[in-house]
Amino acid sequence: MNDVAVLGVGMHPFGMWAERSNADMGLAAGLAALDDAGLSFRDVQAAYVGHIFAQVMSGVRVMKEFGLTGLPIQRIENASATGSAVFREACLAVASGRHDVVLALGFDKMSAMIQQSGATTDPAFLEDAILPAGFFAMWATRRMHERGTQASHLAAIAAKNWNNGAKNPMSQRQPDAPVTVEKVLASRMVAWPLTAMMSCPIGDGAAAAIVGRPEIVRKLRPGRPIVRVVASALQSERYDRGHLFVGPVVGPARMTVDTAREVYEEAGLGPKDLHLVQVHDAFAIEELEYYELLGLCGKGEAEAAIERGDFAPGGRIPVSTDGGLIARGHPGGPTGLAQIWETTLQLRGEAGPRQVDGARVGLCHMMGGGSVCVIHILQRD
């Protein structure tokens, strides 16, 4: 990625916000990002906006809250990876030389979507009978068969993420007491072996990032570490025998392997160079698989690495430091941008109680149903 930096980040906390509109939350996140960068909306040359559930035109309409400056606005949608895809397009717009300052904004009210769906959706059966939890539960059953994984390994990942969320003011889930493996295991069974506390919540929220030329950081925020976007990749599915065409939430495991290889090559870095990682942990089994698929540990080593606390705060490579999808939440459109918010703060050394000591390189991974895999690597100068 040619000379692209994160100039500013902002969020509206994720949660159940019945009284707040997408415009309210999107404006709050976008203004926070502008203030963080030290920029006016008049400086923004283009905007990419992401939402999954809001109606047609919502992206352009919400942008009017910032002022009417005539800038190009484009809506991007890629299911759960929408925010990541929005961020990627904003980076590409800067890398291409077309623009110097670009806003990436994501928002959604998944709570409203869930309320509507029961009355309007025709039961298509083949696509709808298998809930996301059921699909990922089958990853877990297969993993248990092949590697002897225990439900307690999945619960350990979930407990870690809940407890990380408790340290993040933007997190939807804010446990008032430390969450234990036993508590996660005792929560309601959703799709065996996945329990409710191993699954991400439904929620609302917004997140924004402003990307642009690195010299803008030097000028507007002298002394602040420059956080560069050193690699970006988006891949869709490749065919192998046994490919599932109907009902899967995401494609085969190799999507993450292939996309990671592309970003590692582009950045000239490998998994051993990473100081923190955010993944698409909609369900705890996903995070376990992504440890291996991203190369954070060897094949078949995830369970031992979990037992050692390799991916916990203070561990070898902390993962889902902001609580992940499981705790911080997953409204849809803004989720990938929440990962950029967390990674940018961490690389600047501004993550407060969540700070990973000496963090200089962070990776953000999202899966989007359909499906796509999107990965970015951010590096502090």
């Binding site: 039961p123 298509a124 059966f125 083949l126 709808d128 009978a129 298998i130 809930l131 939890a133 059921g134 699909f135 539960a137 089958m138 990853w139 877990a140 059953t141 297969r142 068969h145 309601r188 069974m189 959703v190 799709a191 065996w192 072996p193 996945l194 065919y239 025998r241 046994g242 490919h243 599932l244 065409f245 109907v246 009902g247 899967p248």
Partner: protein, 144 residues
């Protein structure tokens, strides 16, 4: 003579057969590539492997091997039947190559990875003189 059965109709057309003889298992409606021989479910116009457009309709199954499974603790989508408040789901490898993901008959303890299953039709609700059916798999051997 037993009472006349309601006419069975698929919940969604184009995915599986509904045999006139209710003792016969349904088949999945798929595609074979005439150039590379790969099989697919569901039907498709272009081969996903070699991109050939020379594809033909075929019927797949009705038996396969269980690759993975779960038991979902929610009502089956679109079903009006109380026994569907929780249901099994499996990924099944068909002998022709495709892997399919469908509901399973039975309970969690009935399933074992690698076991043989067979497709069957299951009514989920009635609409006038019609019985709406889905396709699912049922274990044909006991879990060890």
């Amino acid at each position: 003579m037993t009472a006349q059965r309601k006419v069975r109709v698929p919940v969604k057309a184009g995915y599986f057969t509904v045999p006139d003889d209710s003792t016969q298992p349904p088949r999945l409606l798929g595609t074979r590539c005439e150039d590379c021989g790969e099989h697919f479910f569901p039907r498709r116009a272009v081969c996903a492997r070699c991109l050939s457009r020379r594809t033909v309709d075929v019927e797949l199954g009705p038996q396969g091997q269980l690759y993975s499974y779960t038991f979902v603790h929610f009502p089956l989508f679109g079903s009006m039947r109380v026994e569907h408040v929780g249901y099994g789901v499996g990924q099944v490898d068909l002998p022709e190559g495709p892997r399919v993901q469908l509901p399973l008959a039975g309970k969690q303890e009935d399933y074992r990875i690698g076991m043989t299953l067979e497709a069957e039709l299951e009514p989920i609700r009635e609409e006038g003189d019609k019985e709406v059916v889905i396709i699912r798999f049922r274990p044909v051997e006991r879990a060890a």
